[in-house]
């Protein structure tokens, strides 16, 4: 099985040095693209590869690149931003890619910048990822010194500046328009979806934004072609996926596997199955803001469409497992506390609804829940659902709640009738 994304990553995630990266074929894709491809050909290649965004939304990457305005009268400067603000609870895949192989991301960014005709690039990395940020800063400096960045890159006439920005920390910065506000030195509050960022993003200029894992794939597609990339996958979305698993499994971790690997295989073969004495009850397939799936869904391929069909989402592809010794109400309470804390406060349903949700869950968990509380929670899952707020934070927060109310309803009811948490 081929593992292009993680081929250079050591077990302890120690970074690969530039000379070793080059020896392993690093920056060959950049040389190839700059010497023999037009930006348009590169966009077509990525479109044909069926690469979809790995940050959670799964938007086709090539289509996003193509949306950058073209022509001779375009507004400048144009920006490329890597969203390296990995803060989804349960997710740790981008940290691995940045710490273990920073040049792979940088090469992917230079290729994306060439395809989208941008001259300035930022890596927006979260505050707590200090190791990743230091390694990226060092790798960027190395790339400058070898003329992979700067003016007239490798004699091609293409110029690119790159900066690493360390965030001051808020989950909402992972939302595209909030991220650009953070980079502009504002409160990170999301904007309207229109105009699109590709038309008016950072400082009102055309801006392309992609996730770390998405961009890390680019050089491999350039080197090996779209058909090769599609052949890596077990589904119609191209490529491999870095899946992770946490919770009470024997061997928590992250692995690069074919896109569309079923959760059962990830849990049992790679995660080693459940720890002794605990049983599987359910899982969030792709981070905190995805719907629970349960036993009957374990054979679902972990890809965008298959998980959608069973009412959940691939999200980040990092699975959080709920076991039978852990209280589902407590787990959902923890999640909603997180979302309430991280709401930026701009939209009323989110700002007021999430703390109400969290308080109701706290009361149920502590044994002071009342009849009617579940209806209050259900009301929130509708009132904070899609279309009621600027961004996806509140709808995402409702996903684990609505599915927990469906799959673990008896547990919620027992808390209320017995006036205590049965797990305590």
């Amino acid at each position: 099985m081929e593992r292009p994304l993680t081929q250079n990553i050591r077990p302890d995630w120690a970074p690969i040095e530039l000379k070793d990266y080059e020896r392993a074929g690093g920056y060959q894709a950049l040389r190839k693209a700059l010497s023999s491809m037009t930006p348009k050909e590169l966009v077509e290649l990525i479109k044909n590869s069926n690469l979809r965004g790995r940050g959670g939304a799964g938007f086709p990457t090539g289509v996003k690149w193509e949306a950058m305005p073209s022509g001779t009268d375009v507004v400048r400067p144009r920006y490329l931003i890597t969203d390296a603000d990995e803060m989804e609870p349960g997710a740790f895949k981008d940290r691995m890619l940045m710490e273990g192989d920073p040049h792979q991301l940088i090469e992917g960014m230079i290729l994306a910048a060439f395809a989208a005709d941008t001259e300035l690039a930022y890596i927006f990395v979260r505050r707590e990822y200090t190791v990743a940020a230091r390694r990226l800063e060092r790798a960027v400096a190395e790339a400058y010194s070898h003329n992979y960045l700067g003016n007239n890159i490798l004699g091609s006439g293409f110029n690119l500046e790159m900066h690493v920005h360390v965030s001051a920390g808020r989950y909402i910065c992972g939302e595209g328009t909030a991220l650009t506000n953070a980079l502009e030195g504002e409160r990170a509050i999301p904007n309207h979806r229109l105009p699109r960022q590709t038309d008016s993003g950072l400082w009102g200029k055309p801006t392309l934004m992609n996730n770390v894992e998405t961009l890390s794939n680019v050089r491999h597609i350039v080197n090996n072609g779209a058909d090769w990339f599609k052949s890596l996958s077990r589904s119609k979305d191209g490529g491999t996926k870095i899946y992770g698993i946490s919770g009470k499994v024997k061997n928590p971790g992250a692995w690069e596997l074919p896109m569309g690997t079923p959760m059962r295989e990830i849990l049992e073969v790679h995660g080693g199955g459940m720890r002794d004495g605990v049983k599987f009850r359910g899982a969030l397939p792709g981070g905190a803001s995805t719907d629970f799936i349960v036993d009957e869904h374990l054979d679902t391929p972990m890809d965008f469409e298959s998980l959608q069909k069973v009412g959940s989402r691939l999200g980040t592809g990092t699975i959080i497992v709920l076991d039978d010794q852990t209280c589902p109400v407590g787990m959902v309470h923890n999640l909603e506390e997180f979302f309430a804390q991280e709401s930026c406060g701009w939209c009323t349903p989110c700002r007021d609804g999430l703390p109400w949700t969290a308080k109701t869950l706290k009361a149920i968990e502590e044994g002071s829940g009342e009849p009617g509380d579940l209806e209050i929670l259900e009301f929130h899952t509708r009132f904070l659902g899609p279309g009621k707020t600027f961004c996806a934070l509140a709808p995402g927060a409702m996903e684990p709640l609505q599915s927990a109310l469906k799959f673990f309803r008896e547990d919620f009811e027992r808390h209320i009738t017995e006036k205590r948490c049965p797990w305590r």
Binding site: E86, G185, R187, V321, L335
Partner: protein
């Protein structure tokens, strides 16, 4: 007072942005790395340097989790309270640290050595529970490991 060194570092950030105020988050992080926190005086100095009003800058400062508008200890302990750490026993870690240091979350020890803060997912979910002290991540924690870890921070 902003030192010349701080001003130079902030200027480097300003030079990458179309406007001075765009560098304000970097500027606060630069000052905080020297001063530990952003006092009212520092806030005013930074606002003046970036041609911003104090309120405008404070609006940004109070939005972000890692801009500290109150004094903090010499070392900051971030305790991950997100879902994977919660499942793996974050509560015991929090209670132990709280008892051992004699402070609640959000407080600083009387000797100014440690501040205890909750943090959202540290991205070490496969090694939960995890904490971060200053810039160093610690994981797969149990109580026995703490004594040796805390000894490293005077």
């Amino acid at each position: 007072m902003l030192t010349d060194e701080m001003k130079q570092k902030i200027q480097i950030e300003i030079d990458t942005c179309p406007s001075r105020k765009s560098a304000c988050i970097d500027a606060m992080q630069i000052v905080q790395s020297r001063m530990g926190w952003i006092s009212d005086d520092s806030l005013k100095d930074i606002a003046d340097f970036l041609d911003m009003t104090i309120d405008e800058l404070d609006g940004v400062a109070t939005f972000y989790n890692h801009i500290y508008r109150k004094p903090v200890g010499r070392h900051i302990i971030l305790v991950c309270e997100s879902v994977s750490c919660w499942i793996m026993g974050f509560g015991k870690i929090r209670d132990y640290l709280s008892q051992r240091l004699g402070i609640e979350m959000g407080e600083t020890t009387p000797d100014g050595r440690f501040t205890l803060l909750p943090v959202e997912c540290l991205g070490a979910c496969d090694h939960a529970p995890a904490i971060m002290i200053d810039d160093q991540l610690y994981w797969d924690l149990d109580q026995n490991k703490f004594e040796t870890i805390l000894e490293n921070y005077k």
